[in-house]
Amino acid sequence: MIEIKDLHKSYHMGNNSLHVLKGINFSVKEGELVSIMGSSGSGKSTLLNILGMLDEADEGSYTLGDVPIKNLNEKIAANYRNKFLGFIFQSFNLINYKSALDNVALPLYYQGVKRKERAEKAMHYLEKVGLAEWSHHLPSELSGGQKQRVAIARALASDPKVLLADEPTGALDTKTSYEVMDLIQGINDEGKTILVVTHEHDIAQMTKRIVNLKDGLIIDDSKVEQIRASAHV
């Protein structure tokens, strides 16, 4: 599903150059649930941003599905993000003046899906995350866990190839974190490929594979015995 070869990325700030990714080789198969771990500054967020086409690599190749991702202009990148990727952010990033339903429907809006069909689909995904009753509430009326579930529904709405989660439990307490991970595991069980960036070991243990990053290089990449989050709830 994801194929990355010899990925390099540096940031330039004035005269200083910061080499963040120093040649990453990495692949993810369909249906995997992978966590990317590492201390801050290890390059894990940068890797996720490049995977998410929010940022561009300096060197190396990236193939998503069978589409080579290179030389993108913003228009094509936006189109690819819309079709192939679903984002889950640490701070949820819901649009605060839109109802839960409208937030979930937003990727479909950018796909040009008709209004009625959009509402139906969005409702379907809200039901999936157990928030059907909250569909007309604004994000400010929802708890943190509920917000993240709305965000997950939104990420799922366009039926993407891959879900990219950047510290999805970073702003949540342990109990809510496990609930969210339970949801993510459920989605993975249905066959969706999911990448989770985290620095929490218990969260990483709930995935099927842990990739450890240090100073821009992968130092460890191993399958783990998945701990079901439902056992902790």
Partner: protein
């Protein structure tokens, strides 16, 4: 482009901070109100001042004799002289560009003594001796009977055409003036018509007027073949100002006046005065547009400014939208449409408000009667369309910079913004 979803998006964004949206819109509202009001007031002033010119053919001049100020050909200075009827023929013959040359006589006038008697009634009116063409230079509405004719001139008939105020003063209510006689300076004249000054101009003065044939006037009041003064109208396409010098030159020559004696013949060039007033109002109109546009511009800058702040505030939101698949153009066009909508709606409200104020002004003017040099402030539909055009253009301009800044940042940086 303007689907219902897009409308929802825009309205959601605009109503997210209602008070700020209102304040922003107020700038444009105020600007367009001032623009329209300024143009309406200019128009009112123009209407008022041009009404003073009456509906006298504007391509006209008046000419009268004043006495020489230079000795010439053995004649002393200070000599008085009169135009003669043959001067009219000379002018018509020598200058083909002239349409009408009307010799005129006048009796009475402003603050004149009583000069008209009918039975027990007396009144002071302005009496003119005129040729039939005069009605073409100064249009008037004949209510009853007819105006002077050439057969009146030829047979020097003692007939007259009287204004409606003369009728009011000299006749009882309901009495028919036609066919009756009035005594003007002791001579009886048959009333053959009544008239009323057509709409604009100094109506009061016009309605207090009596016209009689020029030749009759000369004979009845001992003017011989002299001419009091002349009203000259040039043909369409030729400005009377351009032939004025030639007219004066001809007149000086035929009356043995020194060619450089500027003061011997007095004249008033209506065309020039009218042109000057028109020019003044063209400039005033331009000033109206200019000042109004500048006021409007500060409103536009206000919108641009607020849109910039809104875009800045929503950087993160824009980042999220782009992560979810919004193309840069989608974002840009939304910002543009927001500013366009804001500008057009507030502009429409401004135009409506200005129209309301103009309506109130007209209502008060109607109630309180005419005011000097001011009448019927109004704007034409074309001004409204120009104002709308300015609004659309400026709404787009206002959105342009914010729209560009909205997509300038990379999505990854936008998402990181707090």
């Amino acid at each position: 482009m303007f689907s219902r979803d897009r409308w929802d998006e825009i309205l959601q964004a605009l109503t997210a901070n209602k008070f700020r949206t209102f304040l922003t819109a107020f700038g444009v509202f105020w600007g367009i109100t001032i623009l329209v009001l300024l143009l309406a007031l200019t128009n009112g002033l123009r209407n008022g001042v041009t009404a003073d010119f009456g509906n006298f053919a504007t391509n006209s001049m008046f000419m009268w004799t004043q006495g020489t100020t230079k000795a010439y050909k053995g004649l002393p200075k200070g000599r008085r002289f009169n135009f003669k009827l043959e001067d009219v023929e000379t002018l018509k013959r020598e200058i083909p560009a002239l349409r009408y040359v009307s010799p005129r006589h006048q009796l009475g006038g402003y603050n004149g003594a009583n000069n008209v008697v009918r039975g027990t009634k007396t009144g002071a009116f302005t009496i003119y001796g005129d040729y039939p063409e005069y009605i073409k230079q100064q249009p008037m509405d004949i209510i009853q009977g007819r105006f002077l004719s050439y057969s009146d001139i030829d047979s020097k008939r003692k007939v007259c055409v009287i204004g409606e105020d003369v009728v009011k003063a000299m006749y009882d209510k309901g009495e028919d003036a036609l066919g009756t006689y009035v005594k003007i300076n002791g001579v009886n004249f048959l009333v053959i018509g009544t008239f009323k000054a057509s709409n604009s101009g100094d109506q009061e003065e016009d309605a207090n007027t009596i016209f009689m044939p020029f030749t009759t006037f000369g004979q009845a009041f001992n003017r011989g073949d002299s001419v009091g003064w002349m009203a000259i109208t040039a043909k369409d396409g030729t400005s009377v100002t351009s032939v004025k010098a030639k007219i004066l030159e001809l007149m000086r020559a035929s009356h043995k006046v020194h060619p450089e004696d500027e003061r011997a013949i007095g004249n008033f060039d209506l065309s020039e005065a009218f042109g000057r007033v028109n020019g003044l109002f063209s400039i005033l109109g331009f000033v109206g547009y200019f000042v109004g546009a500048l006021v409007l511009m500060s409103g536009i800058i206000g919108i641009s400014n607020i849109m910039l702040i809104v875009v800045k505030e929503r950087t993160r939101e824009i980042g999220v939208r782009r992560a979810l698949g919004a193309s840069p153009w989608t974002i840009k066009s939304q910002v543009l449409q927001e500013s366009l909508l804001l500008t057009i709606i507030s502009g429409m409200v401004g135009i409506s408000f200005a129209a309301f104020v103009i309506f109130i002004m007209n209502y008060i003017l109607d109630q309180s009667g005419p005011v000097d040099n001011f009448a019927n402030p109004s704007v034409s539909m074309s001004v409204i369309f120009i104002a709308l055009f300015i609004l659309v253009v400026s709404g787009l301009l206002a959105g342009l910079i914010p729209a560009n800044s909205a997509t300038k940042m990379k999505p990854v940086d936008a998402l990181r913004m707090e």
